[in-house]
């Protein structure tokens, strides 16, 4: 395992206290490397791929050159031999013995053939080292073994878990709109998915397919029937659908003018919220005769509106269904992509320091994984004094001064029946501490 992987600089703070001492020396090295890299991390990464690519390019070049050379030499040989044969086959020489001159020429030809083909064989052999350099570059820049964060068999031993995983994949596929793949998986894994679960996705997909064909009908129907809830979401879907329809009429040219004007009445309920946009559209009517493409309103005809409406629809429909746009499986997988190298790194450090026993602490990961604020789904309170997450058995307590520490920390701070807040010198009665719930 390479040691050159950078790790976040907060490594020392994020490793749980019990381990820090044991791992400190190894971690210091990593932290230092982390500090030095930063910028160079992404350079190192590009180098990873570039290094392999270089070797592959060399091999491709060699195949090209060799191929051309091989074909050419053999062509020449065949041509030469062909000429000789033609000469020998001429009627004048039939039945006669071979002349000395011709015999000499023939010998030379034979030698040439032998030399050429043997060289072709050895030239090809020479390419071998370039080929194996590709393999070596891959071995050098990528890890051949990936290890589990938890014991390998944690999902194997429970067959049910495998089935649940398949189900999670099916649910993900439905949410991503890959209906035929989901169906296929259900068949192959003999899973049964409730129609109740499938139904909303089937409907969503139907509407999206219509939108891809520029058919606004099903989407409008859906938007109207969910109008109330969409308004609660501050969604402008219905308006946007009407707008798109109007624009399409406009694109139809002057003959569509009456129809467009008549359709404009649909904007009435949106007059307050979307005044500006309605004005723009009404204004564009002036250019109908001239052709919208040549007018200052040509941007209305952009194709991007269609892509945008699909996105808006998907987003609003998912909100209504209580789904996030990214499936839980996607988010978990992406989180794993961040976590995996960090955890493998630390596992290597642990093994290096030969304290493998420490890894068997199966309840909690040994290190914090930073996923970004969008992944903060639950409150976490880590007691600033004991550096541990609070729990039901050790809950957070608010002191009179408003500072919060864990109950265990509070108990440790009691001195002679009184308690001094570690952050402000306010002395207080331990019993005044109030248990809080985030």
């Amino acid at each position: 395992m390479s040691w050159s992987l950078p790790v976040t600089c907060t490594l020392m703070e994020t490793v749980s206290t019990g381990w820090a001492e044991m791992l400190r020396p190894g971690l210091t090295v990593l932290v230092r490397m982390g500090r030095e890299s930063g910028e160079t991390a992404s350079e190192a990464a590009m180098e990873q791929c570039a290094s392999v690519e270089r070797e592959v390019d060399k091999v491709l070049q060699k195949f090209l050159t060799y191929g051309q050379h091989c074909e050419q030499s053999l062509e020449e040989l065949l041509h030469h031999v062909g000429q000789l044969r033609a000469e020998l086959a001429s009627a004048a020489l039939q039945g006669t013995p071979l002349s000395a001159t011709l015999s000499l020429v023939m010998s030379q030809c034979c030698r040439k053939i032998k030399d050429t083909v043997q060289k072709l064989a050895s030239d090809h052999k020479d390419i071998h080292s370039s080929v194996s350099r590709v393999g070596k570059a891959i071995d050098r820049n990528f890890d051949s073994e990936i290890c589990g964060v938890v014991s390998d068999a944690v999902w194997d031993s429970r067959e049910k878990q495998q089935q649940i995983l398949q189900m999670a994949i099916v649910e993900h596929l439905y949410q991503q709109g890959m209906l035929s793949v989901a169906e296929e998986l259900c068949q192959e894994s003999t899973l049964n998915v409730d129609l109740d679960f499938k139904q909303p996705f089937l409907e969503l997909n139907r509407i999206l397919e219509a939108l891809h064909e520029q058919d606004l009908g099903p989407a409008l129907e859906w938007a109207v029937s969910h109008r109330q809830r969409l308004l609660e979401l501050n969604s402008s879907l219905e308006f946007k659908l009407h707008r798109l329809h109007f624009i399409r009429l406009l694109a139809g040219g002057p003959e569509k003018q009456l129809e467009a004007l008549s359709y404009a009445r649909h904007f009435q309920p949106f007059a307050r919220l979307h005044q500006r946009e309605i004005q723009v559209m009404m204004g564009s009517l002036v250019y109908l005769r001239l052709g919208l493409e040549k007018s200052p309103y040509c941007h209305l005809l952009d194709n991007s509106h269609w892509a945008e409406i699909c996105e808006t629809f998907t987003r609003d429909a998912c909100s209504l269904l209580g789904l996030s746009v990214e499936s839980p499986l996607s988010v978990s997988f992406a989180s794993g992509c961040v976590a995996l190298p960090v955890l493998m790194n630390i596992k290597a450090v642990i093994e290096q320091r030969q304290c493998t026993g420490v890894w068997s602490h199966k309840d909690e990961l040994p290190i914090e994984i930073e996923l970004g604020m969008k992944c903060w789904y639950h409150s976490v309170f880590a007691c600033p004094i004991l550096r541990q997450q609070t729990s039901d058995s050790n809950p957070p307590i608010k002191l009179i001064c408003g500072h919060v520490i864990s109950r265990d920390a509070l108990n440790k701070l009691i001195n002679g029946g009184k308690l001094k807040c570690p952050y402000c010198p306010m002395e207080q009665n331990p019993a005044d501490g109030k248990r809080i719930i985030f």
């Binding site: 991390a41 990464a45 044969r85 010998s107 839980p328 992406a334 990961l365 729990s391 001064c401």
Partner: protein, 334 residues
């Protein structure tokens, strides 16, 4: 996208996830190179043989006719050499080009354009899922997914399909295909010193699957499974498993039905630093949205309390108790 991945992080992940992506086509390249060398050597020796025969004849004052017929033989062998050489080179070139395509795809992880970067990430997940599905034996699904995601070039379907053929033939109690596979891969198998005992069918299939994976240096678990396990652990908190289900979050992946069951035996995330999230809005509670405690001990963000305030009163969403807005006290988290 919910999870933030910096370019540096993406690259670290590449290092641990993408070995099979590159190594498998490389092994094919290697195999085809050796086959090409063998073909060229063989045809070259054929040419050399007929030429030697011709040379021998030349030294014994031959008639023109016999020389002509020998020359025909030379022409024939040279043509065969040319044809075989061209075919073999084409095959090796093809595998080298596949290696190149995959490397080029991997390079795109560092694209500046956000749309291209998220497309790359989606394809990454699809690639790993395809490999996982292939390992589980769901070949049709895997092929369909690969096609729909446009990643057919980037996944090792062929390797698994070959494996599938062998396994199916073994299930029919036929050894021919399996033996052919062994022959095909014999030089590498020899290095592994493994023996396949034809008498034990079920074990044989398992053994074959294991050897096949080892041959291509793939471990027991799919990259997808291992990545997912790490990811679930990194998100899992005790709140995802509270008995009354009161602290579940609608956005938290581990709180969702299937993943909740899957993540149960896995370790939890380690959090050394506090981070507070308002139960009402899901927003972060910090200096801009300070955490406020109601008299019942429940904490919410200041902004959320403002938004649910009516007639200067607030109703705690979790206990339904009613309090005055002014009764909310600020708490200080270090």
């Amino acid at each position: 996208m919910a999870v933030q991945e910096s370019a540096a992080q993406l690259s670290m992940t590449l290092k641990v996830q993408e070995y099979p992506t590159l190594k498998v086509p490389y092994e094919t390249l290697n195999k085809r190179f050796r086959a090409a060398q063998k073909n060229i050597d063989r045809e070259t020796s054929h040419v050399t043989m007929v030429v030697a025969e011709l040379e021998k004849t030349l030294s014994s004052c031959p008639a023109v006719d016999s020389v002509v017929s020998l020359l025909d033989g030379v022409v024939e062998k040279l043509s065969v050499l040319k044809r075989k050489a061209v075919e073999s080179i084409q095959a090796e070139d093809e595998s080298a080009k596949l290696c190149k395509r995959r490397i080029e795809h991997l390079k795109e992880h560092s694209s500046d354009q956000p749309a291209a970067a998220s497309m790359w990430k989606r394809k990454r997940m699809d690639r790993m899922m395809v490999e996982h599905l292939l390992r589980c034996g769901y070949y049709n699904t895997a092929v369909k997914l690969a096609r729909q995601s446009g990643i057919e070039d980037l996944v090792n379907i062929e390797m698994f399909l070959t494996a599938k053929e062998v396994e199916e033939s073994l299930e029919r109690r036929e050894t021919a295909t399996c033996l052919a596979w062994c022959h095909d891969n014999k030089s590498r198998l020899r290095k592994m010193k493994d023996l396949l005992d034809p008498a034990r069918w079920r074990m044989l299939i398992q053994q074959f699957r294991y050897d096949n994976y080892r041959l291509h240096q793939l471990g027991n678990n799919s990259v997808f499974t291992l990545t997912l396990q790490a990811g679930l652990s990194a998100i899992k908190t005790p709140q995802c498993y509270k008995e009354d289900g009161s602290s579940k979050s609608p956005d938290c992946p581990v709180c969702s039905r299937s993943l909740n069951k899957l993540a149960q035996p896995l370790p939890m995330a380690h959090c050394a630093n506090s981070r507070l999230v308002c139960k009402i809005s899901g927003d972060v509670m910090n200096e801009n949205n300070p955490p406020m405690m109601l008299p019942n001990g429940y904490v919410y963000g200041y902004n959320s309390l403002l938004s649910i305030r009516q007639d200067d009163k607030v109703v705690c969403p979790r206990t339904k108790e009613v309090f005055h807005f002014s009764q909310a006290e600020k708490v200080y988290i270090m």
